[in-house]
Chain length 164, copies 2
């Protein structure tokens, strides 16, 4: 049987050696279609994405190739906005842009693919291509692994409860 890697602490976050990208890999007990829904359904995304203590409110969310999205996070009364456009949403992958409005100059290009491992398991491959190594290294130094791990742990819970 395929080795299952759903320990939230085992999400892999790695710097690309040649381009200013971050690679995240994480296994889920889910189908690719469930993971695509988890990342695109505006009713589901706020239930799991990001650090546990944040509250996420969708401003707009048009999940189709050529659509766009924006949400506002609230943590300890501090509001932070994020927005982008969806370049592609297909059965193969999600490609979208990403800007954190606290650093409005920065734009990352995010690509998510979903590898069916069999046995009801899917491996998420998420890549964030930044426009400079400085920007990439800033994200890696920001404590992003807390939000990644807490978010994926919450998504594990939604999947177990049959809510995705």
């Amino acid at each position: 049987m395929t080795q299952l890697n759903t320990d939230p602490r085992a999400a892999t976050i790695a710097a690309d050696p040649t381009v200013p990208a971050i690679h995240i890999t994480r296994d889920f007990r889910a189908t690719p279609a469930q993971l695509i829904r988890a990342h695109t359904d505006p009713e589901i995304v706020p239930l799991w994405m990001g650090p546990a203590k944040r509250t996420m409110a969708v401003d707009y969310w048009d999940a189709r190739s050529g659509g766009s999205w924006r949400y506002v996070d609230t943590t300890d009364d501090v509001e932070l906005g994020f927005h982008g456009c969806f370049h592609e949403i297909s059965d193969e992958r999600i490609v979208q842009t990403f800007t954190f409005e606290g650093m409005p100059e920065g734009v990352a290009l995010e690509t998510m693919t979903f590898e069916d491992l069999g046995d009801g398991l899917t491996r998420l491959h998420a890549k964030s291509l930044c426009d400079s190594f400085e920007a990439r290294d800033g994200w890696l130094a920001s404590g992003m692994e807390t939000g990644v791990d807490e978010g994926y742990r919450a998504l594990d819970g939604l999947l177990t409860e049959g809510r995705v």
Copy 2:
């Protein structure tokens, strides 16, 4: 007086030394607003962009932050599609994604800024961030400078005629 660089053959196309990006720089006798319009108005874009011998037909074009675009080129009866989404269209810059449908896996992130040089001149800075050095070097080897130079020369003509 500022040195004017509107010789079409003098458009600068350069590989970034550290990230997989292409930088294009070109001066125009135009305002920043005219250059933004030239890149976003679906009535104007097909009049100048790309190689002189191609015919460009806009499929859809929603020029706003969060909108999307697609056009089809015809050259010698061969049709090629291109599409993407507009991450940002503002007075400061245009940020958009770009896919050539002949290589649908590839997605570039394009950023255009418009530097007002005074004296009615504006310097266009265009950056295409590719997802690998191989993809970037493929574009540089593709003969793209012909389309770039012929396109900008046509745009010079539209500006001179007062059509932008």
